[in-house]
């Protein structure tokens, strides 16, 4: 299992469209992937689960993955966060 701390840098945080992109990406991997924020831990493959975090810009979350492609999953998801979910120039 690997973990990575990730800061949310897009203005709207983990809103609906960002959560949709994130869950869609997470579903491409075999690994079990979770997002941890405060006391909450949700399945990164669940759009509605991600939304319950209500995480905003500047918040720090932990990406956690376990499985044969865990490294690729964390790298790809972290990249999506760092690209601001491709919604800002």
């Amino acid at each position: 299992m690997i973990e990575k701390t990730q800061i949310i840098i897009n203005k709207l945080g983990l809103h609906a469209r960002a959560a949709a992109k994130l869950s869609h990406l997470a579903n491409m991997f075999n690994a079990n992937i979770f997002l941890i924020y405060n006391e909450d831990k949700v399945n990164a493959k669940s759009l509605l689960g991600i939304l319950t975090l209500a995480a905003s810009v500047g918040n720090e979350i932990i990406l956690q993955a376990s499985g044969d492609d865990e490294q690729e999953a964390i790298t790809a998801i972290s990249d999506l966060f760092n690209r601001k979910f491709d919604e800002e120039s």
């Binding site: 469209r17 949709a20 992109k21 869950s23 869609h24 579903n27 493959k45 669940s46 759009l47 509605l48």
Partner: protein, 134 residues
């Protein structure tokens, strides 16, 4: 494959589809039928019959806006082993259905997952956050 349609009072179904498509950034395979306020429901019945006939051999889920409303009551007539009705559909329910996590091979299991997603999407925020608000 499960085929779906949403039947509602007015254009609610069309709007729900448009919003879900915007969020998911994809065209969704779902048909919307609006209840004609001036009519007696016969047009909706005809469109439902046509949709079900065109999708023979598929499982079909009919989403409606409100249990007990005309669209829901009309849809209820069509329930059989291949057709099920889920009332009170909302945006979380729609997203659940069209997201990977909502899709399973089992018809009723998928519908129950969507039902759960729709219900869990309704929250009093202060209670959800464990705060008290009088």
């Amino acid at each position: 494959m499960i085929k779906s349609l949403i039947i509602t009072h007015g254009n609610l179904g069309h709007e729900l589809i448009q919003v879900a498509e915007k969020i998911l950034e994809q065209k969704l395979d779902i048909k919307a039928i609006a209840f004609d306020w001036q009519g007696d429901g016969s047009d909706m019945i005809a469109q439902l019959e046509k949709f079900i006939a065109a999708n023979k051999g598929h499982k079909i889920v009919i989403f409606t806006d409100m249990f007990g409303g005309s669209p829901s009551n009309i849809a209820t007539r069509f329930i059989n082993k291949n057709v099920e009705v889920l009332t009170g559909i909302n945006l979380p329910g729609m997203l659940k259905f069209f997201c990977c996590e909502g899709k399973t091979e089992k018809f009723m299991e998928t519908i129950k997952t969507v039902e759960r997603g729709a219900i869990e999407g309704i929250n009093i925020i202060s209670e959800y956050l464990g705060e008290k608000n009088d």
